[in-house]
């Protein structure tokens, strides 16, 4: 099974600079947690535009770090911004589960 983070993606930019990678992982984990918090909030509030915006932001940073499966889940959440709350909770559950895997991999490095 493929790892949650394809490090080759990030290394196209970092070229193996470990200190830089570690800095980027921290930034990613902080931003990702903010995104998850915002998605959870807007799942409840029903604010579709805010949901779409945060799903998009999460997708972008996930691509940036090479978390491609997570990025794809965020893309689905972004595209489903008009769906009812129940669907959004399902998107969110998938995103949170994948994020846990991503976090585990990044922290093991």
């Amino acid at each position: 099974m493929n790892l949650p983070v394809d490090l080759a993606v990030l290394r196209q930019v970092t070229e193996g600079d470990i200190a830089l990678e570690s800095e980027l992982f921290k930034v990613f984990l902080n931003s990702a947690k903010e995104c998850i918090g915002a998605l959870r909030l807007h799942c409840r509030s029903g604010n579709q535009e805010e949901w779409r915006r945060h799903a998009h932001a999460f997708k972008s940073i996930s691509y940036g770090i090479g978390a491609l499966r997570l990025a794809d889940l965020c893309r689905q959440a972004q595209e489903g911004f008009q769906n009812p709350a129940l669907n959004k909770y399902q998107y969110l559950a998938g995103i949170e589960a994948e994020f846990t895997e991503v976090e585990l991999q990044l922290k093991s490095l």
Binding site: L24, V27, H56
Partner: protein, 313 residues
């Protein structure tokens, strides 16, 4: 010289060739699309015989003749010379009698590493347009068809009110423009609201350029008018607005400005708006150093660059 003509399943072969080029990370590849509707009737084999001398110094070249569609030529090395010669050949010997367009509009050059995603999306669009029952994916504003480069101006997002420069801002912009020729290094504006992605872009550009950053559209516009950067890399999905709107405002202010869209959404709608805004590049995340460097190289070789020639490797 290695030259191959691909007729059967040419579209799939072309897409996989573009992927291969992107994997190879070589910026020496060139790609030209020849709009077949402007050419006189010519057999594909005869066409290849005619263009063979132009490609003789290239170490690899392939011609993809797509059924009922355009001809794509991909080659390795001497991009400018080959494109120039293809334009010459088409205008002298291959045009239909009633065509008055210049050859540059018929033989369109792409950098496959920068524009590969755009080409892939356009090819897929072409495919779905042929299927009569294909679902309509575009919004009404982006459905306008027509010539390949022309979308109606009505489809463009209009600049928001705060993007109208004041007289004082225009004066500052004019001063910054005048100072461009004295710059020793290229000045680049990066507009990105995600700290991680901003940091990645700073890393890519580190050392070689003066980099200004903005996290939102209003801040970016203010900075643009103040600094008149040589190149602007704009994220599309910004927290306080849309990068297309900013690109549109920049291009209205200065059609020669170099604007590159950077996005995680390479939908055909995004591409069409970017194209209608006549931006200079479209980079899809995740990007590599090579893709960003190719955009800068393209600007440096465009004849628009006045700064940074010495420092640019």
């Amino acid at each position: 010289m290695l030259i191959g003509l691909i007729e059967h399943d040419a579209k799939t072969a072309l897409l996989s060739h573009i992927e291969e080029i992107n994997r190879s990370k070589s910026s020496a590849w060139g790609l030209a699309v020849i709009k077949r509707k402007y050419l006189r009737r010519i057999d594909n084999d005869a066409f290849v015989l005619m263009i063979k001398p132009i490609l003789q110094d290239c170490s690899a070249a392939r011609v993809f003749c797509i059924e009922d569609s355009d001809i794509y030529i991909v080659w390795l090395g001497m991009q400018k010379r080959v494109h120039h010669d293809l334009c010459e050949l088409v205008s002298r010997r291959l045009l239909r009698g009633n065509v008055t367009l210049d050859a540059g509009s018929i033989v369109i050059y792409f950098d496959p590493q920068i524009m590969g995603n755009e080409i892939s999306t356009l090819l897929r669009d072409e495919e779905s347009a042929r299927e009569p029952d294909a679902p309509k994916r575009m919004t009404a504003s982006a459905q306008i068809s027509g010539s390949d480069r022309a979308l109606s101006l009505a489809t463009l997002p209009l600049p928001a009110d705060f993007l109208k420069p004041s007289p004082a801002q225009l004066a500052a912009y004019a001063r910054a423009l005048a100072g461009k020729t004295r710059r020793k290094q290229l000045e680049i504006l990066v507009v990105e609201d995600q700290l991680l992605l901003l940091r990645l872009m700073q890393e890519v550009l580190r050392g070689n350029y003066i980099v200004d950053t903005a996290a939102g559209m209003q801040e970016a516009w203010k900075l643009y008018l103040e600094k008149a950067p040589d190149i602007a890399f704009l994220d599309i999905g910004l927290m306080d607005g849309n990068g297309h709107v900013l690109a549109n405002a920049i291009k209205r202010l200065d059609p020669d400005a170099c604007v590159v869209m950077v996005t995680a959404s390479n939908t055909s709608e995004e591409l069409k708006i970017a194209r209608a805004n006549q931006v200079d590049g479209f980079v899809v995340k995740p990007y590599s150093r090579q893709q960003i460097s190719s955009c800068i190289d393209k600007y440096m070789n465009s004849g628009k660059a006045t700064a940074g020639k010495e420092g640019h490797a």
